[in-house]
């Protein structure tokens, strides 16, 4: 009962409250950064205009409509979520053609995910066949 009352005291909240849980060790590893990471202007546009075809032996070209000055990232991911290839870029114009090369990726079916710097995602299926 004491434990419960103590808990109630801890969690009864009025307005905006932070619940620390639990009081564990500080973060191990990692380092504060971000000063050298610029995400550019916020992406307002993101769409896929064209793909060179979902089946490829390795080279892959994708046309995108993007916001100039914003950063984007292409990630080729396995179905289990593992990222096999990443390609980041900063848009220099509203319509761009991005050449990607998956020659070192094993044959299979993958998701190609285009992310913008606001967290939006677009997904294209890519089949690597040799």
């Amino acid at each position: 009962m004491k434990k419960f009352l103590a808990y109630l005291l801890l969690v009864t909240t009025v307005g905006c409250t932070d619940i620390e849980f639990p009081a564990g060790p500080v973060v191990v590893g990692g380092q504060e950064s971000g000063s050298d990471v610029s995400l550019g202007v916020a992406s307002a546009t993101m769409s896929v205009a064209s793909v060179s075809g979902p089946v490829t032996t390795g080279p892959f070209t994708i046309g995108v409509n993007v916001t100039p000055g914003a950063t984007y990232s292409f990630q080729l991911t396995h179905i289990n979520g593992t990222v096999l290839h990443n390609h980041g870029f900063t848009a220099t114009q509203a319509s761009m053609s991005i050449a990607l090369d998956y020659s070192t990726i094993p044959a299979g079916a993958y998701d190609l995910i285009l992310m913008d710097n606001t967290g939006r995602l677009l997904k294209v299926v890519v089949i690597i066949q040799r």
């Binding site: 909240t13 932070d18 504060e32 971000g34 990471v37 990232s73 990443n86």
Partner: protein
């Protein structure tokens, strides 16, 4: 020279004596003579094939065994191995209450040996069901038999009481006679001795029916649950047990006896009961119970507006004192907050240990009254079998699961009685309004990150809100929950990468309502450099929301997965 000729004679090949053989054409039959599944009162046939093997085999002396109570022997029919125009007849001598005593000496592949070594027990009390048919099939023909079916035996499947313990039909031996009438002591009896008559599923059931699973019990757990039939109450002795996954259907035949009493319990693996209990008791269970409690009449009766079924009161009686009282509210709240688990396995009980949960016949479960639930103690189904199939609906209830989200649903057309269900991106409460929850992927630029839960209550007034998420503890560390709710009691529980959190209004005075609310923010720190982070947070199906009456409402998610992406992934390679 003499020696040479003798040697040549010795070396000349001597033709082996040909051996006819007889065997069943199949060792299981599943269809009646019309090709349909076998049910009682059907006629079935089973065939015996012959391989003459260049002999002049004509007649055969058979010894068949069957269950006289389950099958009535009808006749023997001539089949295609016997040439047309041949003379065909048979005689049968019937030995009721007799059984062939099988030994290694009389179950050989030689029919004559089996005949010579045959041994029987004939006793109406010790052999109540079996019978022997000694059948002499007489065939006379100038032509030899062909390799094909020799005879067909026909039986009628008796309409014996459900649950009868069936046995195969056996060909104990078959001895051939050639055209000259000589016994063919080398007659082979090949293949298995018995033929199993497979009745249609349910054709011999004494008990059949369906276990009605809770709508939110995962299919994986449903597959691990069992229905257990015992014949004693205090020291359960197992009679039958079956898996109840999927549709939850079951059928019990011969393990049970006609006109006998049994108990049925639903079992859950010991290592799953606590997780099931935690998932089933959430904020709307508490708000539903507390609303009923605080609106009670002055005479201590309840209005039954929130807890509107007897079975829900039974679930709400968390302290198991046959009353709905303040102590139940406290225990349910403790469970919602993660301080306690209402149903858990005792020490030492894990995956291989099964636990029974309150199991109730469907019609009783549905009709349990607002008063009668207090004296209801039959949380094990007790029933008596008859002589025919008895259909039973089995339901179960979990302690504290007031809204029956994980217990069996009450059978009713009223939407309020239907259980909530989680589908991808939606938590559906039939007949109820719903709120929107929007989650965004997170671009990680430092070593800390925050996931806001954006809520649009869609004009509803909320009194409780609860979620559960899973993260990868190898990549991020949960730091804190930031709560922005009006004077609500909050709770958070982080357990091995799964965070259960929420808040509720115990006073039902300060409701949450609005279109752009952020009642919760989860804050994490990155284990590695945040800018290189690539992980995700998954929304788990344990979630809940309650309105200002304490009733459950639905939740619409825009996604069930939040990606956490380091900023370095946006850098030019």
């Amino acid at each position: 020279m003499k020696h040479f000729l003798a040697a040549v004679l010795l070396l000349l090949p001597v033709p082996a004596l040909a051996q006819p053989s007889l065997a069943w054409t199949a060792n299981t039959i599943t269809t009646d003579v019309n090709g349909g599944p076998i049910v009682k009162d059907d006629t079935i046939s089973i065939d015996v094939k012959v391989n003459p093997n260049n002999t002049t085999i004509r007649s055969v002396y058979f010894d068949f065994q069957h269950q006289k109570d389950a099958l009535t022997f009808l006749d023997v029919q001539q089949r295609e191995a016997i040439p047309s125009g041949a003379s065909f007849s048979y005689t049968n001598y019937y030995y009721p209450n007799c059984r062939f005593n099988r030994t290694t000496g009389n179950t050989t592949t030689n029919g004559w040996t089996n005949y010579a070594q045959a041994n029987y027990t004939c006793n109406s009390s010790t052999v109540p069901y079996h019978a022997i048919n000694r059948i002499m099939v007489n065939v006379a023909s100038s032509q030899n038999l062909s390799l094909a079916t020799y005879v067909r035996l026909r039986f009628r499947v008796t309409n014996v009481a459900a649950g009868f313990a069936y046995d195969s039909i056996y060909m104990n031996f078959a001895v051939g006679y050639d055209a000259a009438g000589s016994t063919m002591t080398n007659t082979e009896n090949t293949g298995a001795k018995g033929v199993w008559v497979q009745l249609a599923p349910g054709a011999n059931n004494l008990l059949s029916g369906t276990v009605k699973h809770g709508a939110n019990v995962s299919t994986g757990l449903q597959g691990l649950m069992r229905l257990w039939v015992t014949d004693t109450a205090t020291q359960p002795t197992e009679v039958a047990i079956t898996a109840i996954g999927g549709a939850g259907t079951f059928g019990f035949g011969s393990p049970l006896q006609p006109s006998s009493w049994y108990r049925m319990r639903v079992l859950v693996p010991g290592d799953s009961i606590a997780a099931l209990s935690r998932a089933s008791v959430t904020v709307s269970d508490y708000t539903m119970a507390v609303q009923e409690w605080i609106t009670q009449n002055l005479d201590k009766t309840f209005k039954n507006q929130n807890i509107d079924r007897g079975i829900k009161y039974l679930a709400a009686d968390a302290n198991d004192n046959d009353q709905f009282d303040g102590g139940d509210l406290q225990r349910i709240f403790n469970a919602v907050a993660g301080l306690d688990t209402l149903m858990k396995a005792p020490a030492g009980c894990s995956a291989s240990c099964m636990l029974s949960i309150p199991t109730i016949r469907g019609e009783t479960y549905d009709s349990l009254g607002f008063v009668s639930w207090k004296t209801f103690t039959n949380t094990i189904i007790q029933l008596q079998t008859g002589t025919a199939d008895q259909n039973v609906t089995v339901k179960y209830v979990l302690r504290g699961d007031v809204n029956l989200s994980h217990s069996s649903p009450v059978t009713s057309v009223a939407p309020a009685q239907q259980a909530a269900a989680f589908t991808m991106g939606r938590f559906i409460v039939p007949g109820a309004s719903s709120i929107d929850v929007n989650l965004n992927n997170v671009i990680v630029t430092g070593n800390t990150l925050s996931i806001p839960f954006n809520v649009d209550t869609k004009s509803l007034k909320l009194s409780g809100l609860q979620f559960e998420v899973k993260y990868d503890p190898a990549k991020v560390k949960f730091e804190k929950l930031e709560v922005n709710t009006p004077s609500w009691i909050s709770f958070v529980n982080d357990d091995k990468g799964v965070i259960r959190f929420g808040a509720l209004d115990r006073d039902f005075k300060n409701f949450l309502s609005g279109a752009a609310l952020v009642p919760f923010k989860l804050q994490f720190s990155s284990i590695q450099a945040g800018v290189d982070l690539n992980s995700s947070v998954q929304i788990y199906p344990t979630m809940d929301a309650a309105d200002d009456k304490g009733k459950q409402v639905g939740i619409n998610f825009n996604t069930t997965s939040i990606k956490l992406i380091g900023a370095n992934f946006f850098k030019q390679p």
